[in-house]
């Protein structure tokens, strides 16, 4: 997507692509989709060795980018992941790593962050409520008790919570938005595995029935997490966008090839103007999506003043474009796209899920007005 990769970035891309090809190509993705956990335990650790969970963390905390542009680097990995619909909580895991590096207390940074970066433990982010609202803190509240804090409510769309050691939970508190690093095994935490449209990933609902926590479990300031949560949403959105671009690119490439070789009425179907024009429009969706995601990545790397707006624009634009692209590819494949054995539906499922995760297009459109104070 980025037209000017450095040598180090190319290396990152190539090693990631080769790892995916060897370790988890689409046939294996299908196996995992049919498995109980949805991802195998060693995959995350091996991926971590390639740096997948350290790119957004500064060197001081044990991470490091390859180019100095950490989001550009992470997006390179995300794109390759998206291309072959990789499982695992890459996006929320990186959000947690980023959040702990920025806001975590010493103990969180010393004990949790290294395990996450090394892929030894899974940490995931619980930001939405179970209706799919991404309003900050939706679904959960935390209140001070005598000596500690009590967390209640439910969070939805928590990826791989069933495998997680820790959950970074956003919640409303009487003094404002708060983030908490909650051990997944803490008393009162109930994790419900869900089925879903996107069979290449696993999501859970996590219920908190008066979970007792201490101030040491707070990430950042109690009541002071608004800015952090906003930035984490941007991080999550941009990584998801990069994964979407990879999936869009691959889905389109396969559909385009099919239009060149499939014949009907004595011609390749891609020679029919109806098909050709649909594919041209689809290609425009893909190129403009790449362009706007590039802008979003740069906005984060440059800490642009209007980064939130640019990310929201990209998430809204690509959220709609990706679904249209996947639907157009489906139309290109015709009947074969209805068969389970064809990969088209996996891309449709994934891209449709990506469109809603970390804010659906309509939510981001409304948010742009709010960012302008309008």
């Amino acid at each position: 997507m980025d037209l000017d990769l450095s040598d180090d970035q190319q290396l990152l891309r190539d090693t990631s692509a080769r790892f995916i090809e060897d370790r988890c190509p689409l046939p294996h993705v299908r196996e995992l989709a049919a498995s109980a956990d949805g991802v195998d335990p060693t995959y995350g650790r091996q991926a971590a060795d390639l740096g997948w969970y350290s790119l957004l963390v500064d060197e001081e905390h044990g991470g490091g980018s390859v180019s100095g542009k950490s989001f550009a680097d992470a997006a390179i990995v995300a794109l390759e992941r998206g291309r072959y619909l990789q499982p695992g909580a890459f996006v929320p895991g990186n959000v947690v790593a980023w959040a702990l590096a920025h806001y975590g207390n010493d103990e969180q940074q010393a004990k949790v962050l290294p395990a996450v970066i090394a892929g030894e433990r899974v940490a995931t982010w619980a930001a939405a409520d179970s209706s799919g609202s991404w309003e900050p803190g939706a679904g959960a509240t935390v209140e001070p008790t005598g000596s500690g804090l009590r967390l209640a409510g439910a969070k939805g769309l928590v990826q791989d919570a069933h495998l997680a050691e820790w959950l970074l939970v956003t919640a409303a508190s009487p003094t404002g938005l708060t983030q908490l690093l909650v051990p997944a095994g803490a008393p009162g935490v109930e994790i419900v595995r869900l089925d879903g449209l996107d069979i290449t990933r696993r999501f859970c609902t996590v219920r908190f029935s008066g979970v007792e926590l201490t101030p040491a479990d707070v990430v950042g300031e109690l009541g002071g997490a608004a800015a952090g949560i906003d930035r984490e949403m941007q991080v999550a959105a941009v990584l998801t966008l990069a994964e979407s671009i990879g999936a869009m690119d691959q889905d389109f490439t396969v559909a385009l090839d099919y239009a060149k070789v499939r014949t009907a009425f004595g011609r390749p179907i891609g020679s029919f103007q109806a098909m050709k024009h649909m594919l041209a429009d689809t290609s425009l969706l893909l190129e403009s999506s790449k362009a706007i995601v590039t802008a979003a990545i740069e906005a984060l790397d440059e800490e642009a003043e209007n980064a939130a707006e640019v990310v929201s624009m990209a998430k809204a634009y690509v959220g709609d474009s990706a679904i249209e692209l996947a639907q157009n590819c489906f139309q290109t494949f015709g009947g074969i796209g209805f068969t389970w054995e064809h990969d088209q539906h996996l891309y449709l499922r994934r891209l449709t899920a990506d469109s809603s995760l970390y804010g659906e297009p309509a939510w981001h459109r409304e948010r742009i007005w709010q960012l302008y104070g309008l």
Binding site: S133, T205, G334, L357
Partner: protein, 423 residues
């Protein structure tokens, strides 16, 4: 035939039904999935019921006695249908509809008397279920472009190739199979239909797992299957004529221009979508309300369009097959839009559900099925061609496959340059 005769027929039928069939259980509604999944064991029980009906002379009421029918009038048939409605008659699922409504009717028009004597009585007796072996993995929109081949070998034919999208083939007895018997003539002129018994050596029937989880369709593989001259349906190399008859029956005779009843007024505002919006807590959000109303209005527009298309055919205002494409295209475009609106208003909450929670799963299943109307049974593109050329009388698309031998067409398509001969 007097009204008295009919009344007597009715009373006799009623008496027979009461004495021989069970009453239908009114509580058994349609299943939750789109298609009722049949099993070979279940079908065996249905065959027993059908046999009783056949033996009593109530199968093929309007069909020739020569082939096991009763040669009675459509009025008799209507009477029996009315009387038998409360009773548990044979339910052969989708293959039953194909057998009686499409295959047998097509046979009656085109097959030889020998063929009909051999098969129709068995069909009426519930001993033979037939499905279509028509579409192929490589030939969907271009139905006449099929490449399953039947080659003459002395008195026999050898069939090889593959068919797909045959509904219910996994429990059927026969497939009515279109194959290419002459590759040196234009594509419509070298086709022949065969009756293929599904348990013949070399026939493999596999269910096709669909993206929505169903597996009602099958794919068949023919590996040098030996057929006899007696298996030919219609004339050799005149199969396209047979296919056209079949397509008319497949459309349910909707070309007849019968007056459709006024579509029911909408029964509430898109109930599924309103329920979904409520579950998401979004039924008061103006944008969500816009999207739901859009889907509701499109539903109504499609229903009114169907009525108008019926009127156009009835009053002779349009090529029936052409104007029928309006309805199909509306379904094909509105369906995908509506499915997407469901996911949009359900947003993240519609992506996941607790295992087994059917209403949580519904928007996703609808979404996965959303493009079905735009592809199956004729793609949106085919409908647009049909409207453009048959209704609007727009100049034709250049044709590259109608005037030359099919084997040349295949070759030329693989080496396409876009060049047309200089004049």
């Amino acid at each position: 035939m007097s009204a008295n005769d009919l009344e007597e027929y009715r009373l006799t039928a009623r008496k027979w039904l009461e004495g021989n069939l069970e009453r239908r259980d009114p509580d058994v509604g349609p299943s939750l999935r789109g298609v009722d999944h049949k099993t070979v064991e279940g079908i065996a029980l249905e065959r027993v019921i059908q046999r009783k009906v056949f033996d009593a002379g109530y199968a093929g009421i309007t069909w020739p006695t020569e082939y096991g029918g009763q040669s009675l009038t459509p009025a008799h048939e209507a009477v029996f249908n009315e009387e038998s409605r409360p009773f548990r008659t044979a339910d052969f699922g989708v293959a039953g509809g194909t057998t009686m409504g499409v295959c047998a009717r097509t046979m009656l028009v085109h097959a030889s008397p020998d063929f009909l004597r051999r098969h129709i009585p068995r069909i009426l007796a519930g001993e033979e279920l037939w499905v279509q072996f028509f579409s192929e993995p490589g030939a969907g929109s271009d139905l006449a472009g099929i490449t399953t081949r039947a080659t003459r070998d002395g008195e026999e034919w050898i069939l090889s190739g593959s068919k797909i999208w045959s509904s219910g083939a996994y429990y059927a007895d026969y497939g009515m199979c279109l194959s290419r018997t002459d590759w040196d003539v234009p594509k419509h002129r070298g086709l022949t239909w065969f009756g293929v018994k599904v348990d013949l050596p070399g026939v493999t029937v596999q269910p096709v797992r669909e993206i929505n989880g169903d597996a009602e369709f099958c794919q068949e593989f023919f590996d040098d299957v030996r057929l006899s001259e007696a298996d030919v349906i219609g004339e050799v190399n005149r199969g396209w004529t047979v296919a056209q008859t079949m397509l008319v029956f497949e459309r349910g005779g909707s070309d007849s221009g019968e007056v459709r009843p006024r579509p029911t007024r909408p029964k509430g505002l898109a109930p599924d979508l309103v329920a979904l919006a409520r579950r998401a807590g979004r039924d008061k959000e103006p944008y969500v309300r816009q999207q739901v109303a859009r889907a509701h209005i499109n539903d109504f527009a499609a229903a009114q369009l169907a009525r108008r298309v019926g009127g156009l055919i009835r009053t002779g205002r349009g090529n029936p097959a052409g104007v029928a494409s309006y309805g199909k295209l509306a379904t094909g475009t509105f369906g995908a839009l509506r499915a997407r609106i469901g996911m949009e208003i359900g947003r993240g909450g519609a992506l996941v559900w607790e295992p087994g929670q059917l209403d949580g799963m519904a928007p996703s299943v609808t979404y996965l099925n959303g493009r079905l109307g735009g592809i199956a049974g004729g793609t949106n593109e085919m409908q647009r061609n049909g409207i453009g050329e048959r209704v609007l009388d727009l100049p034709r698309e250049p044709s590259f496959d109608t005037n030359r031998p099919f084997n040349e067409v295949v070759r030329a398509a693989a080496n396409w340059t876009g060049a047309t001969g200089s004049a």
